[in-house]
């Protein structure tokens, strides 16, 4: 048990929410550590990983498609395969999908517009490592800011995810055309979570809603009991 778990925050060229992720994690009592995309390893003692938001590699080809080949992603993949908790936020979610660590893909918003708004998402499943203190139906207000947040999976995939409790969050309203209003999903093992809303921007009431606290606390809870260090 580690009260201040060490969380590696990866900066890719074009990441722009890495700083806020560091601040939010520190505010919540973690020990955030910066990791550069070209690093071959994540720091010793890392108990959790955050892939932050931004526009890695200029969103060339498809969002996240190039970042998955960054040297550090081998280490992140190995950490995830060993059961370590990994959280992907916005572009980080897109990277995890492109890397095959999460199911589905993020496509251009249905309305062809970049959306920046506070949205309400609902906890849909508590079967992941992040969900120790979450309750199904719990509503969280967290900002989104994306042009490609329209999650897609075919009917077969969606049904399988639903059955296994891998749909972590849904938008209360259809904000971007995502199939089944999916806002976040986990992998089958429940130790990798990705979501489009930005919990790191929603941790201080001075700046707006605080729905992000529950999401990041979920990562810290998972990191505290993680067997991978």
């Amino acid at each position: 048990m580690n009260d201040a778990p060490r969380i590696a925050v990866v900066t890719f060229p074009g990441s722009n929410d890495d700083g806020d992720a560091m601040l939010a994690l520190e505010l919540l009592g973690a020990e955030p550590v910066r990791v550069w995309h070209a690093d071959a390893a994540i720091p010793d003692g890392t108990a959790g990983v955050v892939l932050p938001g931004g526009f890695s590699y200029g969103d060339y080809l498809r969002c996240g498609a190039i970042a998955r080949f960054a040297p550090v992603m081998d280490a992140v993949g190995a950490f995830a395969a060993a059961g370590g908790p990994v959280l992907g936020i916005c572009n980080g979610f897109q990277i995890l999908c492109e890397a095959g660590l999460l199911p589905g893909v993020l496509r251009q918003n249905r309305q062809e517009q970049f959306i920046c708004a506070d949205v309400t998402i609902t906890v849909e499943s508590t079967s992941s490592a992040f969900a120790g203190t979450w309750e199904v139906g719990q509503e969280l207000v967290i900002p989104i800011k994306h042009g490609e947040g329209n999650w897609y999976g075919d009917a077969e995939l969606v049904a399988a995810l639903e059955a296994r409790g891998q749909i972590a969050f849904r938008y209360s309203d259809d904000v971007n055309g995502a199939i089944e209003r999916v806002a976040g999903v986990t992998n089958e093992a429940g130790n990798v979570l990705g979501l489009m809303p930005h919990p790191e921007h929603a941790v201080d009431s001075l700046l707006g809603p605080t729905g992000g606290v529950a999401v990041l606390e979920g990562l810290l809870d998972a990191a505290r009991v993680s067997v991978v260090h």
């Binding site: 080809l61 498609a65 492109e98 893909v105 496509r107 251009q108 062809e112």
Partner: protein
């Protein structure tokens, strides 16, 4: 050897960009009933063997250029631009 990989949104996939382009074309007065927007990648390969090139391009498309969940691709070998 030059080649082109054409990447398209799969038929079952909604294509908001294509819809917007189709709507713009109709606004300009063209009798358009649909438009789909994809992407093309011109590749210069260090080989003269079309079979070898096709095998390599197929892997490139599957591994990186197209996302198999939402996109289909076709390969054109020996295209001169």
């Amino acid at each position: 050897m030059k080649a082109t990989v054409l990447i398209r949104p799969k038929e079952a996939i909604l294509d908001p960009q294509g819809e917007a382009v189709g709507e713009a074309l109709r606004t300009l007065g063209f009798a358009v009933t649909g438009a789909r927007v994809g992407r093309l990648v011109d590749v210069d390969l260090d080989t003269d063997d079309p079979v070898e090139a096709r095998t390599a391009l197929d892997s490139m498309a599957r591994d990186l250029l197209a996302n198999p969940l939402t996109e289909s691709f076709t390969i054109e070998i020996g295209t001169e631009t």
